[in-house]
């Protein structure tokens, strides 16, 4: 099924839904008027009640069950309207919060089920290149010293052998996130500031002590769209839901004039 492009526009979805709600509430909506004392359980309402029953029980209701369900519906409706008449919906934090979140959720719904096309995802990928750049891989040797002084004098003397520790002396093409996982945050940050060089650099501090580092190579990995396609899609969906909620809110908000006493 092919639809014109505008039908995929979230704003259109929102407007369609909003219009339908508006129509429903203004024209079709006598039942929500708390002032009305007429409860009309027409064919449509009955079908809805039967359908709800069927969805939950997995079968159609018997006549007796339907009658009982209708009685229950009428009872709820009476109590609901009386509650509205008494203003019980006002000042109830639970009711308020629930309506707020229902409204908010409805704007994000479409994005939750959507599968964006290739172009959308690629555009998102490009716009967030730094998130998906495969990061860098680094190749380096490190020599460990318990004290900064020992590290400095080893570097000055040129004889760098380091002290014993259960860390790899040489790492080849390891992703930066692995460097952080194994050497800690501070080391990883300081290593990122070094440029590749044939000689020993540092000392660089880690949670373990001090390290002289021979940074042989750093290669930035290009982002590979295919490799991270699912991540892009997951991220797009999360962002898109937030954006739709925000846009929907903006539209509603623009109709209000808010005065805040300062």
């Amino acid at each position: 099924m092919t639809l014109p492009g505008w039908t995929r526009e979230p704003l259109v979805h929102f407007l369609v839904a909003g219009a339908a709600l508006y129509i429903a509430l203004t024209w079709g909506g006598t039942p929500v008027d708390p002032a009305s004392r007429v409860i009309d359980v027409g064919a449509e309402e009955q079908a809805q009640i039967a359908l709800t029953f069927e969805r939950t029980m997995g079968r159609a209701p018997t006549d007796a069950e339907l009658d009982a369900a209708i009685d229950r519906y009428v009872r709820d409706e009476v109590l609901y309207r009386e509650a509205l008449r008494l203003g019980l919906d006002q000042g109830d934090a639970v009711v308020r919060q629930r309506m707020v979140s229902k409204m908010d959720m409805s704007a994000g719904l479409a994005a939750e089920a959507a599968d964006p096309d290739e172009a959308t995802l690629r555009a998102y990928f490009d716009a967030n290149a730094s998130r998906y750049s495969g990061g860098s891989v680094v190749t380096f040797e490190q020599a460990f010293f318990e004290s900064q002084l020992a590290a400095r004098s080893a570097r000055a003397s040129g004889a760098v052998s380091g002290e014993a520790i259960s860390l790899p002396a040489s790492l080849i093409d390891v992703p930066e996130r692995e460097v952080q996982s194994r050497f800690g945050e501070q080391f990883s940050r300081e290593l990122a500031a070094l440029q590749p060089d044939d000689g020993w650099q540092g000392p660089v501090q880690s949670g373990f002590g001090w390290h002289l580092v021979k940074l042989k190579d750093r290669t930035a990995l290009p982002g590979d769209f295919e490799a991270v396609r699912d991540r892009v899609q997951n991220d797009w969906r999360t962002d898109e839901m937030a954006a739709r909620k925000a846009r929907a809110f903006e539209i509603l908000r623009s109709a209000y004039r808010v005065e805040i006493d300062r």
């Binding site: 339908a20 997995g58 479409a110 259960s166 991270v228």
Partner: protein
């Protein structure tokens, strides 16, 4: 009229959206990860994970208030920022490498469905006064909702869950939907080499309130796991769970294992010397248990199950995370008595395993150890300074949560401060894929920590010497010995061990490394002993009266800080069992202790300006730790 119009309006939005197909994972993501990435020759680093996380699909978690689902849980574990249910932005300081979302298989998604149902439906169709009362409580306030779930847990423990909620047909329908969606989702987040999302669920059997829970974890992706549904725990036995696991293996060619947890709340039933009905343990049961349950979860938010001071009176470091939890079973419907402890704690279970093996030829309790969170917030937080609570009702926005009674509102005796911040599982693997992580669990090359990420390595053999450290000792370890989780066959010589513990690079220094040995003596009695094998500043901290002096305490109680001016960055040693006796079977596991650091309660006190109760304050500083899987010394070829 109104309802149908709204249905139409919502429907039109969905119809437009549904013109496209559901997103799909690549075959690499959807499989078990074999042949997807280049693997190291030997396991070269520990991968960090949580195998026990609940989301809003868990019947209790939703009732406790969590509104974050599996996708939020996956994003959070990967290191992204999510908004916690109570509104604050949450992020891990370091991402995890793997995650098992283990929602309760019983009534999967049921509280969410109940909550979302119209009241007339609950009142009339479900037509159960208890369910209606819970429904109203859930809608009334977070506190009432938590109480409702506490009642539900007690009902589950007592076997009095209302028929309407326990209806298997209805439950299955809901479960199918959620399971299908869930497996598709975790495939999409599973990224070989970067992040592993494993399929799983929690089997929540609780006869009489005694905790026999297991996390079930699959090796495979949705192509296989869609063939089964999560196996219900209520009214089923562990033998039936193993039948289910066998059936899964036969039907799909896949692999699955189960991880018992919270044995500390089982009132002695988790590790019994007999079968559940009191009849003698059989070799068949022992073999099935060993095959299906290679690993236990020894530490998590609801306490630590390594050992109890009553069982290990000579272990001065015993008793971590025991307070409160030792009182009885999960809902505290039955108090524990000391005679139950041996069946509730892991070290005594390992000892029982040796005894049972001597009788039966098979050791039912030859398991490795991991830690996890058991968080019900969808947030796998294990760090003391970033603890999001056991469940949404004690997320940090409840500022005095440490002082609150936290026995789910029903009984006396457990308080917020009894919760630990949770643990993590470390798996020695050759790469980060489902197959590699799962296989590490299967061969028990895993260890537990109470949260910090220290790197702990152990090799056992017969000819290791101090000189091995000068060369490629990891290769030596793998070629001349076995790693943690392995078995040594008796050679007539004392076993020797290469033990290395490296501090968490972003955490506290190490106090000491200990070997915990359990063995059967000449008369067949099980014995245990804890050896301090290497510690910081050994010159100035000489053993006195048989024990190593305390490392000290740098924690400032006023601002919840500590300094690494005491302790060591790394501790390693070659250790030869000085008390080896030929002909006695034994196990050896390593316990690593950090220097004292603030617990989450002290961070809370400082951040929120709370005055902790006297008891909580006395427990606000602790020595976090790691437990490795044991290495077993076997006296005859494995049965």
């Amino acid at each position: 009229m109104r309802k149908s119009w709204i249905a139409f309006a919502t429907g039109s939005v969905l119809a437009l959206a549904a013109c496209n197909s559901e997103p799909e994972a690549t075959p690499e993501q959807a499989g078990n990860g074999e042949d997807t990435i280049e693997l190291a020759e030997f396991p070269d680093r520990p991968y960090w994970g949580d195998t026990h996380l609940h989301t809003d699909n868990s019947v209790d978690a939703f009732g406790f208030g969590v509104r974050l689902g599996p996708e939020d849980a996956l994003r959070f574990a990967r290191g992204e920022t999510v908004t916690a249910t109570t509104g604050s932005e949450a992020k891990l300081s370091r991402p995890l490498d793997f995650l098992v979302i283990a929602d309760h298989s019983d009534a999967l998604g049921a509280t969410r469905r109940l909550y979302d149902a119209p009241r007339w439906y609950v009142d009339w169709v479900i037509n159960d006064p208890t369910v209606l009362r819970w429904y109203d409580m859930m809608h009334e306030s977070p506190e009432q909702s938590t109480l409702a779930i506490a009642e539900l847990i007690t009902a589950a423990a007592d076997g009095t869950v209302p028929e309407a909620l326990a209806d298997p047909e209805k439950a299955q329908e809901g479960t199918e939907d959620i399971w299908t969606t869930h497996l598709g989702l975790i495939d999409r987040y599973n990224e070989p080499g970067v992040f592993t999302a494993l399929g799983g669920f929690e089997w929540t059997a609780m006869p009489d309130g005694n905790n026999l829970h297991r996390v079930v974890m699959f090796r495979d992706g949705s192509a296989r796991t869609l063939e089964v549904l999560p196996f219900p725990g209520i009214n089923s036995t562990v033998e039936q769970l193993w039948d289910y696991m066998d059936a899964y293996r036969t039907a799909t060619g896949g692999e699955v294992l189960a991880i018992p947890h919270n044995s500390n709340l089982s009132n002695g039933l988790m590790f019994e010397m007999t079968l559940a009905d009191g009849s003698p343990m059989t070799a068949e049961y022992a073999a099935r248990r060993a095959a299906n349950e290679p690993v236990v979860e020894v530490t998590q938010i609801k306490g630590d199950s390594e050992t109890h001071p009553f069982l290990s009176p000579n272990d001065e470091m015993a008793g971590f995370g025991v307070k409160g939890w030792e009182l009885g079973n999960l809902p505290l419907t039955h108090r524990a008595t000391p005679d139950m402890y041996a069946g509730s704690y892991v070290r005594s279970a390992l000892l029982r395993g040796l005894s049972l093996e001597a009788q039966l030829g098979v050791n039912p309790y030859a398991f490795g150890m991991v830690g996890s969170t058991d968080s019900h917030t969808a947030l796998a937080t294990g760090d003391e300074d970033n603890f999001y609570g056991k469940h949404t009702g004690n997320e940090p926005s409840y500022k005095d949560r440490a002082n609150h009674s936290q026995n789910l509102g029903t009984r006396e005796g457990r308080f917020g401060w009894h919760y630990l911040a949770g643990g993590y599982a470390a798996a020695w693997a050759r790469g980060n894929t489902r197959a590699e992580i799962f296989d590490a669990f299967k061969r028990r090359e895993v260890y537990a920590t109470t949260g910090p990420r220290m790197t702990v390595r152990v090799f056992g053999g017969f000819d290791f010497t101090a000189q091995d450290w000068d060369g490629d000792w990891v290769r030596a370890g793998y070629t001349r010995g076995v790693p943690m989780g392995g078995e040594l066959q008796e050679s007539g010589n004392a076993p020797s061990f290469l033990i290395s513990a490296l501090k968490d690079p972003d955490g506290a220094n190490l106090d000491r490394v200990q070997v915990v040995k359990g063995w059967l003596d000449a008369s067949g009695e099980a014995q245990e002993r804890v050896y301090d094998v290497v510690w910081s500043d050994m010159d100035s901290r000489a053993r006195s009266g048989g024990s190593v002096p305390a490392v000290g305490d740098t924690v400032n109680r006023e601002d919840a800080t500590y300094t690494n001016t005491i302790g060591a960055a790394e501790l390693r040693t070659t250790w030869i069992d000085p008390d080896y006796t030929p002909g006695s079977s034994a196990f050896y596991y390593v316990r690593v202790l950090e220097i004292p650091t603030p617990r989450w309660t002290l961070f809370d006190a400082v951040r929120f300006g709370i005055t902790l109760s006297e008891d909580a304050m006395a427990d606000a500083v602790a020595q976090e730790r790691a437990y490795t899987s044991p290495i077993w010394l076997k006296t005859k070829p494995a049965g």
